[in-house]
Amino acid sequence: MNAEPIDRELVPDEEAVADAAAAEDRRLLERTWKYASGLRGWFAEVDHSKIGVRYIVTALIFFALGGIEALMMRVQLARPENRFLGPDLYNQVFTTHGSTMMFLFAVPMMLGLAVYLVPLMVGTRNLAFPRLNAFSYYIYLIGGLFLYTAFFLNTGPDAGWFAYVPLSGPQFSPGKRVDVWAQMITFTEISSLAVALNLITTIFKQRAPGMSLNRIPLYVWAMLVTSFMVVFAMPAVMLSSLMLALDRLIDTHFFNPAAGGDALLWQHLFWFFGHPEVYIIFIPATGIVSSILAPFTRREVFGYMPLVLSLVATGFIGFGLWVHHMFATGLPQLGASFFTAASIMIAIPTGTQIFCWIATLWGGHLRFKTPLLYVLGFLFTFVIGGLTGVMLAAVPLNLQVHDTFFVVAHFHYVLIGGAVFPLLGGLFYWYPKITGRMLSETWGKISFGLVFVGFQVTFFPQHILGLEGMPRRVYTYLPGTGWGSLNLLSTVGAFILGLGVLVYVLNGLVSLRRGEPAGNDPWGSDTLEWSVSSPPPPYNFQFLPTVSGRSPRWLWHDQHPVITGLRSDRREFLITNLMDAEPDHRQVSPGPTLWPFILSLGVGVTFIVGIFTPWGLPIGAVPVTIALIAWFWPRGDQGHKLLKEKS
């Protein structure tokens, strides 16, 4: 890595676009930033948009698998004492469903979308650490494949996605099922941490000149807050899953009450991660909502400053309410009141955001396209989920509905309503950018209708079931409980919801070939990613744009200033300073390499072999060491070398 002082000529130059030299420059850029090709190239790729798309597609596949598991559970619960899945399989299915949706779908999806979008939105050519980015993806993929391989070999984890000890401990979960879960956590958390660092650095240091902190797009702000939350929350769960693995594999006693350990310790550590995790999933969705609202209301989102402050406040308060998952464990009155207050307080920033969005809708010139419909569906659903959240914050009420289907309904309202609806809207919105083609609006609306109705029919009855006494995570229930008809209704809803998602996916697949060409900016949007071709070229921007306001593209009109002076014969991007995004220096970005992939294989071997024998550690250390040495071997000026090889 060599940083050079900035060139004098690095100043906005309006004529540059028209310059005839620009064509030659573009040719050079194409060659420098060319995507790696072939099978080897596939594993060597370090471009953020390629890896971002892989993240999105992989996460969607896991979403589909998690959805199929959900349908299996709903079939099992459709009538009392059903024998479709036995208790053993049901426990594996619900645990895998929860773990998949949280660790293999929601977080990687949100982070993967950001991997794709953030460099485009802040106007740079790649993420700060492209190889680390490739490594993150492979680690995530290996973790996911590992979980599902185990699942199909009857080794799916079966102690619940929050794996409470002692049930998940060595005595009550024999075999390797929970070890698979614990290692999968480690895989995905490493991946998330690496992506978070990548995003933070990119957002802080690579923004286009002029994009000062108060001009960062709201989506990018959301990802910044999310990334910081990842950095602080994920170590807690990595630590606890490591302690669980040690208890299970080498007989430590972290969670053994008889030997001075504590079963409650697990719950504190897990929820210290687990509650922020919800916001790690929700906050990116708020960014998506803001991104969608601007073009479809033709107005800047109202209340930039309150929205950003709300995000930051959510990020802080989100760490102060983990104990509301543990009210039933018995807490001193005062402590419980504190966590009640914190849990209720978080409704203030969330409420502020919702009011700002409604104000945006009020002031806007609405276009009722599918993405906006998803935002409206989000408002309806998420407000219900937020309000039941306030109910759950009250200790006495929590003691009644905790661990019942009321909670199941609540968090699906928050996570599907609050995150998946915006996500589906967001994917619809950015699909043209990613693929270059439009999705079918008709089928988009049909799928929205199915998803929305299916969702409400599935989950609304579950509130009532919970109040009527149905505990969660039961594989069946007695006929005399009277829960049969509402459960049947819920199952019917789940299939409608599943059909909606299926229509959405088919729409996406068909439009890949049949969709209308999108052009650079089909929606008339305000952020930088829409100023480049669809899909974006590998170097993203031929000339780095400059930004003079919060909606840069709406302020450009006929002409806009750009940056020149970056070299085109090697991978370079511009580093700007933290507060005001003033150009600081140029930075060379590494090109394609296989080492991140090889390192991820080494790490995979370490973790997977490690659950069968402690020898996994020394065995895995060999490839890991080799890969790390090769990865960081000093190579001098990579840009020149690359160019020499090609010419």
């Binding site: 409470y164 209720i344 502020t352 809708l361 002031g363 408002l379 407000v383 009644q400 007695l478 005399g480």
Partner: protein, 331 residues
């Protein structure tokens, strides 16, 4: 009361009250009040927010469709409305916080200097019940069925020696976790006689779904009568069939795990069977306590509760009949 309970092998069609919304205990009633307060406040908030959204999306925009920031005049208006809404939110939340804390204190205030103390131990997947008394001869042990005097506070001491369970009787009170290493307690009171169903609310393994219990609140005199009956050793077998049943129970696998007062069966791994016939259900409130169910349960307990810890027993047909007859005599 038992009319609906003899309802066939695989289903209990009458299982006791189990709704958090229909309180039969003082604490559940207080929580119920909090619930309805929350429900109406939240419903109002929801309706208002949705009305605002509806108003916002149906409003005819007063300006052109050119993209950009909102007009300054609208902006001021919007700022005021949003600020007002946030202020209102904060006030509402404080009201709810106050209501929650007040209810919490009220719920925690139940207690009595001399009350029935019942120790409940969670096992995979049944509840061990022990009525505590300073005099060892006055201790009653039973399982999955708790009789309490109506209208009087009862102290439940909770413990678990395997995994985490959670004791929850929705009609009477919220739940309380049973965490190994953290014994806890819970006061409950049923304000009128009735049968209330309890559940295990924390996932505890294969048969979490079938880990129920019944709380039977009786008039104090009937409760006292029940307690007195439980203190008695069951009468010796009356018929030759029951006699044979007792012999089989004492010799066969049963005795290794179960205790029957007055016999040599003194295992402590499964529920105490001393007064089995006086209980309404089998298998942790899963099956009605009928002779047919009992027989089927003994032969193949894994059919009704797959994964539970009672093994299948291959008894000779005559022996099975005798065992069932004997167990049904343990009133």
């Amino acid at each position: 009361m038992n009319a609906g309970m003899n309802a066939g092998m695989n289903g209990i069609h009458w299982i006791g009250r189990h709704s958090a919304l229909h309180a039969h205990g003082i604490e559940a009633a207080r929580i119920g009040h909090l619930w309805w307060l929350m429900f109406w406040v939240c419903s109002t908030v929801f309706v208002l927010v949705m009305a605002a959204t509806g108003f916002a999306i149906t409003r005819r925009p007063d300006s052109t469709g050119l993209p950009g920031p909102v007009a300054p005049r609208s902006r001021l208006w919007m700022t005021r409305v949003v600020a007002g809404a946030v202020g209102l939110t904060i006030v509402t939340l404080f009201v709810l916080l106050f209501a929650s804390v007040a209810t919490g204190r009220a719920v925690a205030s139940l207690g009595a200097p001399s009350a029935v103390v019942i120790k409940v131990t969670g096992h995979q997947w049944w509840w061990e019940v022990e009525y505590q008394d300073p005099q060892p001869s006055h201790i009653v042990r039973t399982a999955n069925e708790i009789h309490i005097p109506a209208g009087r506070p009862v102290l439940i001491r909770l413990a678990s020696n395997d995994v985490i369970h959670s004791f929850w009787v929705p009609s009477l009170h919220g739940k309380r976790d049973l965490i190994p290493g953290h014994d806890s307690q819970l006061w409950i009171e049923a304000d009128r006689p009735g049968t209330y169903r309890g559940f295990c609310a924390e996932f505890c393994g294969h048969q979490h779904a079938h880990m129920g219990l019944l709380i039977i609140a009786d008039r104090p005199d009937r409760y006292a009568a029940w307690y007195a009956a439980q203190l008695q050793t069951p009468p010796p077998p009356a018929s030759p069939l029951e006699q044979r049943g007792r012999q089989v129970v004492e010799a066969a696998p049963c005795a290794l795990c179960h205790t029957i007062g007055g016999t040599t069966a003194s295992g402590s791994l499964g529920p105490d069977l001393t007064h089995l016939a006086s209980r309404r259900t089998l298998a942790a409130a899963t099956l009605p306590n009928t002779a047919a169910n009992l027989g089927a349960w003994i032969v193949d307990p894994q059919a009704a509760k797959p994964g539970n810890q009672m093994p299948a027993n291959s008894l000779a047909p005559g022996d099975l009949q005798a065992v069932v007859a004997y167990l049904e005599s343990l009133r």
